[in-house]
């Protein structure tokens, strides 16, 4: 067993580095730079029951050490995913995480059911997308609705379920606990923080959706804090993300309590980031004589 291997809700990842949903499509694009087998896993673009066109452009704005996006879950729908994307992903040695979203509990359930018999390794339940009017973050900002979605889906699928939490809440710990109690096998966090930019010349929001989700290094300290709080409060594994742009960040996130990490916005600045993170963690473990990356998960010693 490699010292980088981790187990996520029964799924073995050869290393703890996953590319984040919405930032790596269905794995075809970055595969042109390096084989996606270098990754521990890939979380695909948020997939809905039906095809979605997403929000009108402009969908991206630059911010200090970060970016806003308002894609709004553009995706071809679950059937197209199964037909056109999953086969090539399954032919590759990488864990496939299906990031899914719905506008109603029924939709979440229908997708869960449809994916139940499929080849995906793990469901990532996105109850935290800030860029869609219905569903999305609405489910992720209350314990009751978050638990409801998860409990209902639980009955429709035997796939391990990882619930993706919103940072735009007063108390992320109670939401994490609620979804754990409802049957989640893991939680991933953070999705994006809601933000806005305005163009001085036009006096209009840069994003056509007015607001969008903030990600990138700017949010890293918020993500570390939330991962630390949640990891201390739940028993299921926590996957940490938000602003990771180098291997040091990944280790910091793991010390805070993350079993694995996801990398999103950093891909846009440097598409090789995930590969460098894998190599960096490995070298650091070597230098520090640590034979198993799991040893550092949650190893921070608070004051």
């Amino acid at each position: 067993m490699s010292r980088l291997e981790v187990n996520l809700a029964g799924v073995t990842l050869k290393n703890p580095v996953i590319t984040a949903s919405g930032c790596c499509g269905y794995g075809r694009e970055y595969d042109k730079l390096y084989p996606i087998e270098r990754l521990g896993g890939i979380s695909v673009k948020g997939t809905t029951l039906q095809e979605r066109q997403g929000n009108p452009p402009c969908r991206i704005a630059e911010t200090p050490s970060g970016m806003l996006n308002s894609v709004g879950l553009q995706n071809p729908g679950v059937e197209a995913f199964l037909q056109n994307e999953l086969p090539h992903l399954k032919s590759r040695d990488v864990a496939v995480i299906a990031n899914v979203a719905g506008s109603t509990v029924e939709e979440y359930c229908a997708i869960a059911e449809r994916l139940d018999g499929s080849g995906i390794d793990l469901l990532e339940v996105n109850i935290s997308c800030p860029n869609v009017k219905e569903g999305g973050a609405a489910f992720g900002t209350s314990c009751t609705s978050a638990a409801e979605v998860v409990a209902q889906m639980r009955r429709r699928t035997s796939k391990p379920m990882m619930v993706k939490l919103s940072p735009n809440v007063t108390d992320i710990v109670s939401i994490a606990r609620a979804v754990e109690d409802a049957g989640a096998d893991a939680v991933s966090l953070i999705n994006t923080l809601l933000g806005m930019r305005i163009d001085l010349k036009t006096r209009r929001p840069v994003l056509h959706n007015n607001v969008g989700g903030l990600s990138g290094p700017a949010v890293f300290p918020v993500a570390v804090r939330m991962v630390w709080q949640v990891a201390g409060a739940v028993k299921i594994p926590v996957v940490g993300m938000g602003g990771i742009s180098c291997w040091q960040d990944a280790i910091e996130m793991m010390l805070a309590g993350a079993r694995a990490v996801q990398i999103g916005a950093a891909l846009f600045a440097d598409p090789y980031t995930p590969v460098k993170v894998v190599e960096g963690i490995d070298a650091w473990l070597e230098q520090n004589g640590i034979s198993d990356v799991n040893e550092i998960v949650g190893a921070v010693r608070p004051w």
């Binding site: 919405g22 930032c23 790596c24 499509g25 075809r28 694009e29 970055y30 042109k32 730079l33 673009k45 066109q53 997403g54 929000n55 009108p56 452009p57 402009c58 969908r59 991206i60 704005a61 630059e62 911010t63 200090p64 050490s65 970060g66 970016m67 996006n69 894609v71 553009q74 990138g216 290094p217 916005a265 891909l267 846009f268 600045a269 440097d270 598409p271 090789y272």
Partner: protein
């Protein structure tokens, strides 16, 4: 199509006019893959997002790539500070280029900073190309000599009449098409200009290809932020400038 990422030396820097710079970068690997109309995604120190810049010249023999950019905001301002010898982080070549039918006449229509992506097309079409280039005013004219050097039929327009035709490129395009139909019109410039160009060309039954702009994240088709409305299989959908474009069939584009 393969693309690459790397840090390549800036070997030439020239200011073409106020606020517009021509950079020559030595990146044989990218150059060997590049076709006219594609772009490179340029990382600028201190900025979280790369800047897309069209490929203006492809010198395969020497492995040199040329790009011409205008200082528009903070990122291009920082980019303009580089000095030859420094390295520049490029991701490319990206997107789909222009594909004018081989051996036929082609009309190139460029407006302002939309002109550079057409230069390499002119280089390849030689005297089969008519280049109709529009600028605000005489002092804003760039690359005219370069187009001439490729022996194309160069027709300049300025909004204020200070050089060449007094008016918009669409006027010159009407004139040119009246002279006979080329195999294709390739255009790059502001949306309003592209709309006019496509309408005129269609009226003459000439196919068009236009290069679009949209704000980008990944540049490679992975993040879906660079949406533009196009007609595919009869319905309006959001395709993506970086992957499905930047060059689109003019008929596909839904001009707002």
């Amino acid at each position: 199509m393969a693309y690459l990422q790397g840090c390549y030396p800036l070997v030439g820097k020239e200011q073409l006019t106020a606020g517009i710079y021509s950079y020559t970068v030595s990146c044989p690997e990218i150059v060997s893959q590049a076709v006219p109309g594609q772009f490179v995604h340029v990382r600028v120190d201190g900025f979280s997002l790369r800047r897309p810049i069209s490929i203006c010249g492809i010198d395969t023999e020497n492995g040199l790539l040329r790009m011409v950019f205008e200082v528009r905001g903070k990122g291009t301002e920082a980019l303009a500070q580089l000095v030859p010898g420094q390295k520049i982080d490029l991701l490319g070549p990206l997107g789909n280029g222009f594909t004018p039918p081989a051996g036929q006449q082609v009309v190139l229509v460029g407006g302002g900073i939309g002109v550079p992506p057409l230069l390499e097309l002119a280089a390849r079409a030689g005297d089969r190309a008519t280049a109709i280039l529009g600028f605000r005013t005489a002092s804003a004219v760039i690359l005219a000599e370069d187009f001439r050097a490729h022996s194309c039929d160069l027709r300049l327009a300025t909004d204020d009449g200070s050089e060449g035709y007094h008016g918009f490129v669409t006027g010159l395009l009407e004139e040119r098409l009246a002279e006979g139909a080329p195999g294709m019109v390739c255009a790059c410039g502001p949306m309003a200009m592209l709309k006019g160009v496509v309408e005129i060309a269609e009226a003459h039954g000439v196919p068009t290809q236009v290069s679009l702009e949209e704000r980008m994240g990944c540049g490679v088709g992975a993040c879906l932020v660079c949406a533009c409305k196009t007609v595919r299989d009869g319905r309006e959908v959001f395709t993506h400038v970086c992957k499905d474009g930047p060059v689109f069939d003019g008929k596909e584009v839904v001009f707002a």
